[in-house]
């Protein structure tokens, strides 16, 4: 008899069989396809247990950091304590800051009841008292006083307009997370970095950027912030100050409509701007955040332009709360 827990519940587990066999027999969670640590259908998060190397073969470091492993390669007797990849804890938080930082963008500062153990670039699922929940990326570092979000108003939206209402100040919300793997991994300090995002896609990029700088990243860093028109960009002064303080950082503002005020802006789509500045993305680490459709199309385009799949990190803002997904390499 082995020992296996899934989502906190004990599951019958035999010596010599895989955790996937046991979960399938109990009709719980993941179904396997290849049973050889290849297809990714049975990826789980290991909370406790000795994970053999084979169960993580070929997974990107960011997946391993999250505890991911192939359930088909976790062989009994265990013990193993497994949860779904997207499973995470919850905590209460109070809205202590609401500050308008751009047209239809508000900075939300949250005080959490316990320190939130997150990595810059991750996101939380925020739940209001009435049960409505949406995902928001974290723009701050763990050392900052508040967990900061940048929320854009979606007209008529169920949750986002609420943050533009002074009544939200002081309210209590629930956070689930942190989630997501679009983070800076230390270790290759001379690599070129490209960070590109539209609208509030800047929020996770700002966290990732500050994290890279705090780790002493030495390679060139190019941040591209895009919007339809110049009114859609925000934090221009803050980003400018960061660029002046760090020689290796260049900030590019990209807009589709000819700018009337700021002549330093480029009238180019994000993808065109990034590719106009370099002949290949081979060897460059790329971070893409913001609108889901844009992020997915840029990801494919930048992969074709030579970026390695392992060096293409993204955080697509899908419209509905995101289910746990397979994100292999």
């Amino acid at each position: 008899m082995g020992e296996l827990h899934y989502r906190g519940e004990p599951v019958a587990f035999e010596t010599g069989e895989s955790a996937l066999d046991a979960l399938e027999r109990a009709d719980l969670g993941p179904k396997g396809v290849c049973r050889a640590g290849l297809c990714g259908a049975c990826l789980v998060r290991v909370r406790a247990g000795d994970v053999p190397e084979r169960a993580r073969q070929g997974l990107a470091p960011r997946m391993v950091a999250q505890g991911a492993a192939f359930a088909c390669c976790l062989v009994g007797p265990g013990p193993f304590d497994l949860v779904d990849l997207g499973d995470a804890g919850t905590c209460q938080a109070t809205i202590e800051v609401l500050e308008t930082i751009g047209r239809d963008v508000v900075r939300v500062g949250l005080r959490t009841e316990m320190p939130l153990d997150f990595r810059p670039g991750q996101y939380v699922v925020l739940e209001r008292a009435d049960g409505i929940e949406r995902s928001y990326s974290i723009a701050s570092l763990p050392s900052d006083a508040h967990v900061e979000l940048h929320v854009r108003r979606t007209p008529g939206g169920a949750l986002s307009p609420w943050f533009f209402d002074a009544g939200a100040l002081g309210q209590s919300v629930r956070l689930r997370g942190p989630l997501g793997t679009c983070c800076y991994e230390p270790g290759r300090p001379d690599q070129a970095l490209v960070l590109a995002g539209a609208g509030t896609g800047l929020a996770p990029l700002l966290g990732i950027l500050r994290d890279a700088l705090a780790h002493g990243h030495r390679g060139p860093i190019d941040l591209y912030h895009g919007a339809r028109d110049e009114g859609g960009l925000y934090y221009r002064a803050e980003l400018g100050a960061l660029a002046r303080a760090h020689q290796n950082l260049t900030v590019h503002g990209c807009v589709l409509a000819e700018p009337a005020v700021d002549r330093t802006l480029r009238t180019l789509g994000l993808g065109d701007a990034v590719l106009a500045d370099r002949s290949t993305l081979e060897g460059t680490r790329v971070f893409l955040c913001g609108d889901g459709t844009l992020v997915k199309s840029l990801k494919r385009r930048f992969f074709l332009a030579g970026a390695a799949s392992r060096d293409l990190l993204s955080d697509p803002f899908e419209l509905s709360p995101k289910p746990a997904r397979v994100a292999g390499a």
Binding site: A36, L38, S309, G328, A329
Partner: protein
């Protein structure tokens, strides 16, 4: 079979080949549309499964698994010509990586052996 996998270099060889192979697929408009509207990270994982299988490596896919994995593509018009293209890109990828022609032939033969399952025949 696993002898071929060892000669090719095992899992690290799959990792070395997967981006090159998948980039070829996405850049070829004759097959790229089969990979539309799919999450790229998940696709890379599936391509690794494909390469491991073609390299004669360890896997437990059955013919039925291959049929069900590719059934949605049949509805989009998958036929022999696409299998030929996949086999050609597989060979091209291995050539770029310096693999000799007779070994490429062995890999192509494994891919060929799955043709009827992939096409649900």
């Amino acid at each position: 079979m696993t002898d071929l996998y060892q000669r090719l270099g095992g899992a690290p060889a799959v990792d070395a080949a997967v981006d090159r192979f998948y980039r070829r697929m996405l850049a070829d408009e004759r097959v790229a549309h089969f990979f539309d509207d799919t999450d790229m990270d998940g696709q890379i994982q599936k391509q690794k499964a494909f390469l491991t299988m073609a390299f004669g490596g360890p896997h437990n896919y059955s013919g039925r698994d291959m049929r069900s994995a590719h059934a949605p593509l049949l509805a989009k018009g998958l036929d022999d010509s696409h299998v030929d293209i996949v086999v050609a890109h597989l060979g091209g990828t291995l050539k770029e990586l310096g693999v000799d022609d007779s070994t490429i032939g062995e890999v192509a033969a494994i891919a060929e052996s799955v043709r009827n399952d992939v096409l649900s025949r």
